[in-house]
């Protein structure tokens, strides 16, 4: 068969082919990128040789939120007794400390003290040092390859002296005993420093167990629970959670994870969105091929009349399908390759095994779908009459109608989901303190020297009009509040436990938190130095002044916990607190009650809180720039910081970025679903336009006759459009309950949920309907305004 003829025919049908090419390229790019992303997400921690046999142990008391960590006190000796546990590694996190090397100080965040067998159990590779001995000495510390480069340049790091100093660790000097390669991206935690963990210090640690047998999890769980019951003699019910190492990244919902994890539901979401888009694209492909085949039928009949057989017809169908498939793979591949960096994906490896398989499957599916119309009606290409008209032969519509409804059901479904997710994202921003404000600068926990100068820093900064407000808090918004205190309200015998938040008096105006009774704290009376002296005396068991009192605030949730019937009732009440270290001042009065506010995250209900001021425990510094003053503000901040704290570099970020990390999965899902719904809508509408063109062509004569008999253009347009409108409405009826159900499932993750009002569904449906009607109306209008005389004459 002459290939040039096939090309001539291909050029003739180019508009339909281009629509297919576009759709297929888009979905192929999506498939490639999604595959790459999903593969990475599923590969977390699998590089560990022992991955199959490793679990992380955490303990849940009653129904309290699960903490990823475990309070390690006397637990280790108990774990050693369990035969199924081959080894275990305990890892405790240091949030902030000052690292000093050769007199130069730098603030280090998020690094870990680990058991000596860390490198024997985990497969992180060492650039220098022996895995079995590198952490043995209490003075051993390891640095990452990149930190070694920064600190020591080309010098050998081994034996170098580093000292660490921080709030939860004694000041101590270490010697570099090894260098580890930077942790792979698909590790559930990353760090630049690892040092020897002392066994005798009880603290919150992440505990990883290496089991003899991966099926031993239930026995280990039972034994751990039994041990806990035996030695702690607890009233609460203890549940041991043994999470397989490879599940942590996607399946863990524990608080205080080492880093913000992924979420398996987003893998499902991405897969689902890809499948839906693929269905829409394949439907279009099938529709176009059906139309093309019906146009080509006469041509094929003529070929067969001249001696061609069925294989020639299939060959004629195959070449364009083959080409369009190939080109879409090419264009989609190029698009994915160039889009990957902008989507913060690792570079797409176009030639990996998986990608090649994906490509072949995709090509196979497109070829198969392109072939369906030819295979289904190959017999119609037999030349059975010398008098067949040259116009396209009849074409079955029944299937297309169902498929069109299905396609639109998909489009409406995904548009509703996208509206719903956007609403929830909006709720995140409005609910979370400072969520709507773009210009809040935050600093994680700072060293004591810096904290001592917070007041000075604040005074200096507020001299500049670019800086509106500044405040301090125990922890940054978006992190879990796990510290609590026991308190007794005057006149009540029973003490209550309340989570605490320590803040500056300017905290409430900073975040626009509303009061429901009373007023804000008076400015704090003690200086950092005075407070520090009192704490030191207290810890040393010395006398402290007994007349020290302070002010407290409650949130709304705390009222009922403490047995107050109204916010006003709480004001002026005296309370007494007990706590291991905070009760160097242990009494005071309630001065105000705030409305509930979301400081942690919206996955959890607002918790009852006691809010208090303590200079020494306001670790984090936050400041707000005036609107549009961010750039100048940052410059001023840096200048002021350098004069106030010349000995420490400023390490800051923006609250939006902090939330961006907390809600990484949600924001990604929102972007993803928006993109997919847009693509679905565009591709479905292109299909609709083509289908409409075909219908109009088929009904040309009917329209002409109607016009001859007095139909107005408006009536013709209505007649043609009604066809689709009914179908889209039907699709809406199918899609809405499904979308509602899926949204409900998704929202179960959140304590604060957006409401799925009826109008979200209506709006999504109407939007799709209007866009679709608008895109076919041009065709309908043209059909309705044609001159009937010409049509009737030409038929």
């Amino acid at each position: 068969m002459n290939i040039t003829v096939i090309f001539r025919r291909l050029v003739k049908s180019s508009s339909l082919r281009i629509v297919n090419l576009l759709g297929l390229s888009v979905i192929f790019a999506c498939l490639l990128l999604s595959y790459q992303y999903i593969r990475k997400e599923l590969s977390y921690d699998r590089f560990n040789e022992n991955a199959d046999h490793m679990v992380r142990l955490s303990i849940q008391y009653d129904d309290e939120p699960l903490d990823g960590r475990l309070y390690l006190q006397n637990v280790e000796s108990e774990l050693e007794k369990i035969a199924e546990i081959e080894q275990f590694v305990s890892i405790s996190k240091v949030n902030t400390a000052v690292l000093t090397y050769a007199g130069e100080r730098r603030i280090m965040n998020d690094f870990y003290a680990v058991s000596p067998n860390f490198f024997e159990v985990f497969s992180y590779s060492l650039a220098a040092g022996d895995p079995s001995t590198v952490l043995k000495s209490p003075e051993s510390i390891l640095v990452s390859h990149s930190l070694a480069q920064e600190l020591f340049g080309n010098e050998s790091p081994l034996g170098k002296e580093l000292s660490l100093e921080g709030r939860r660790m004694d000041s101590k000097t270490y010697f570099v005993s090894g260098v580890f390669d930077d942790f792979p991206e698909n590790s559930h935690f990353h760090t630049d420093l690892l040092f020897h963990r002392r066994h005798d210090v009880p603290e919150w640690t992440y505990v990883y167990l290496l089991l003899n047998d991966k099926d031993g999890i239930p026995q280990v769980k039972k034994q751990v629970e039994a041990h806990y019951d035996a030695f702690e003699n607890l009233t609460e019910k203890v549940t041991a959670h043994l999470m397989p190492l490879t599940d942590i990244h996607l399946h863990s919902r524990a608080q205080r994870e080492m880093e913000h994890n992924g979420n398996i539901y987003y893998i499902y979401l991405i897969t689902g969105a890809n499948i839906l888009l693929l269905v829409v694209v394949l439907f279009n492909l099938w529709l176009n091929h059906s139309l093309l085949f019906s146009y080509n039928k006469r041509y094929y009949q003529l070929l067969r009349l001249n001696g061609a057989d069925a294989s020639t017809i299939l060959y004629n169908e195959a070449i364009p399908a083959f080409l369009v498939g190939l080109l879409s793979i090419l264009f989609g591949g190029i698009a994915a390759y160039y889009l990957a960096p902008t989507l913060h994906f690792a570079t797409v490896n176009l030639f990996s095994h998986g990608t090649i398989w994906l490509t072949l499957c995709f090509w196979g599916i497109t070829l198969f779908v392109s072939f369906i119309p030819a295979l289904a009606s190959i017999s119609s290409t037999m030349f059975i009459s010398t008098r067949d008209s040259l116009s396209p032969t009849r074409f079955s519509f029944a299937n297309i109608r169902y498929m069109l409804v299905m396609q639109y059901a998909i489009v409406i479904f995904i548009v509703i989901i996208s509206f719903g997710i956007s609403r929830q994202l909006d709720l995140i921003k409005t609910t979370q303190v400072g969520g709507k404000t773009e210009n809040i600068l935050v600093m994680e926990e700072q060293p004591d020297d810096v904290k001592e100068r917070y007041e000075l820093l604040k005074t200096e900064l507020l001299k500049h009009p670019e800086i509106e407000e500044a405040t301090t808090a125990f922890q940054l918004p978006g992190t879990a509040i796990r510290d609590g205190i026991n308190l007794t309200v005057e006149g009540k015998s029973e003490s209550q436990f309340l989570p605490i938040l320590l803040v500056g008096e300017d905290f409430f105006s900073f975040f626009d938190i509303k009061f429901i009774a009373g007023k804000v704290f008076d400015p704090y009376k003690m200086t950092y130095k005075e407070e520090s002296d009192i704490l030191m005396n207290y810890l040393a068991g010395k006398e402290i002044p007994i007349d020290l009192t302070e002010q407290y605030m409650l949130n709304r949730k705390a009222l009922s916990v403490l047995g107050f019937n109204s916010p006003e009732e709480a004001i002026g009440k005296n309370i007494q607190i007990t706590h291991g270290s905070l009760d160097y001042v242990n009494k005071g009065t309630i001065c105000g009650v705030t409305d509930d506010f979301t400081y942690i995250n919206i996955y959890e209900e607002s918790i009852p809180m006691l809010i208090m001021q303590r200079q020494m425990f306001r670790h984090c510094f936050m400041l707000k720039f005036g609107p549009g003053k961010q750039e100048e503000g940052v410059k001023i901040f840096n200048e002021v910081w350098n004069t106030v704290n010349p000995d420490y570099p400023a390490n800051y970020s923006f609250l939006q970025d902090v939330y961006g990390k907390v809600y990484r999965n949600e924001f990604n899902a929102g972007r993803l679903v928006n993109l997919f719904s847009l693509l679905c809508l565009i591709i479905a509408n292109l299909g609709l336009i083509i289908f409409m063109a075909f219908i109009v062509k088929r009904r040309r004569k009917e329209i002409a006759i109607r016009k001859v008999n007095g139909a107005q253009p408006g009536q013709i347009i209505r007649m043609l459009n009604m066809n689709f409108i009914y179908r889209i409405l039907f699709a809406f009826v199918i899609a809405s309950p499904l979308a509602w159900w899926v949204m409900q499932q998704w929202l179960t993750d959140f304590a604060h949920k957006t409401t799925l009002d009826w109008w979200i569904f209506a709006l999504a449906g109407i939007a799709v309907l209007l866009i679709s009607v608008a895109s076919v109306s041009w065709q309908s209008w043209r059909a309705s305004t044609q001159n009937p005389a010409e049509v009737v004459k030409s038929e």
């Binding site: 068969m1 003829v5 003739k12 041509y299 001696g307 061609a308 059975i384 009459s385 010398t386």
Partner: protein, 224 residues
């Protein structure tokens, strides 16, 4: 060459049954030129389709070169037809995306004739049809008469023994119509058997014999 016995063709739809051919028997000798005439709907084209192996009869026998071909499967029909039967239509039925040359060459490609041989034969037949100067043109660049000459060239390129023509002059003016009839007569003189369906008494006069059909039956046969 052709012998049909009690040939019947019934078209059925859900509600109506139409008898297109009602027990027709006739014979066409090798080298004969037969015209089939009759009013619209009398079954002329149905007869031509069956003779051309495009369709099977409902019942009856059809012998082509003494071989029963009335009940072959589609694949066998194509095989039998190849190189043996050429078709000429009222609406020319040229493939628009193929040049004149490619249209004429088409049947040879399916007969697996070597390219050099194909080239020779196509050039020869185009010369004979007086259309070689248009070999590189597409059908829509030609006049009706030229298109029909290309269609005839395509019908004869494989040297078929039988040419079936369905109203070959129906879309042509009288001058071009005459040229086409002259060509068919010439082919017949060289030994090709021709069966032609026509409405035109003038065209029919070129034939050796006229068969008149009415309501699916042969009413008269006139030897010229």
């Amino acid at each position: 060459m052709i012998k049909i016995n009690e040939l019947k063709k019934v078209f059925r739809t859900e509600e109506v049954e139409t008898i297109a051919l009602n027990n027709i028997s006739m014979e066409v000798k090798e080298g004969e030129f037969v015209a089939v005439m009759g009013p619209s709907g009398c079954g002329k084209s149905t007869l031509l389709n069956i003779l051309g192996l495009l369709d099977n009869p409902t019942s009856g026998e059809y012998y082509l070169d003494s071989k029963e071909v009335g009940h072959l499967k589609e694949k066998e029909r194509t095989q039998t037809r190849k190189g043996k039967i050429g078709f000429v239509f009222q609406s020319f039925n040229l493939i628009e995306e193929m040049t004149v040359y490619e249209n004429v060459e088409l049947p040879l490609t399916y007969l697996k004739v070597k390219p050099s041989e194909r080239k020779r034969r196509v050039e020869e037949v185009l010369r004979r049809m007086n259309i070689s100067h248009r070999a590189g043109h597409f059908p829509n660049q030609l006049s009706g008469g030229q298109q029909q000459r290309v269609a005839i060239a395509r019908a004869v390129i494989a040297n078929p023994k039988l040419i079936l023509a369905d109203e070959p002059t129906g879309n042509l003016d009288s001058k071009n119509g005459k040229d086409v009839m002259d060509l068919l007569t010439e082919l017949n003189r060289e030994g090709t058997t021709i069966v032609m369906v026509t409405h035109s008494q003038h065209d029919a006069s070129f034939a050796h014999r006229i068969v008149n059909l009415f309501d699916g039956q042969i009413v008269t046969e006139v030897q010229m």
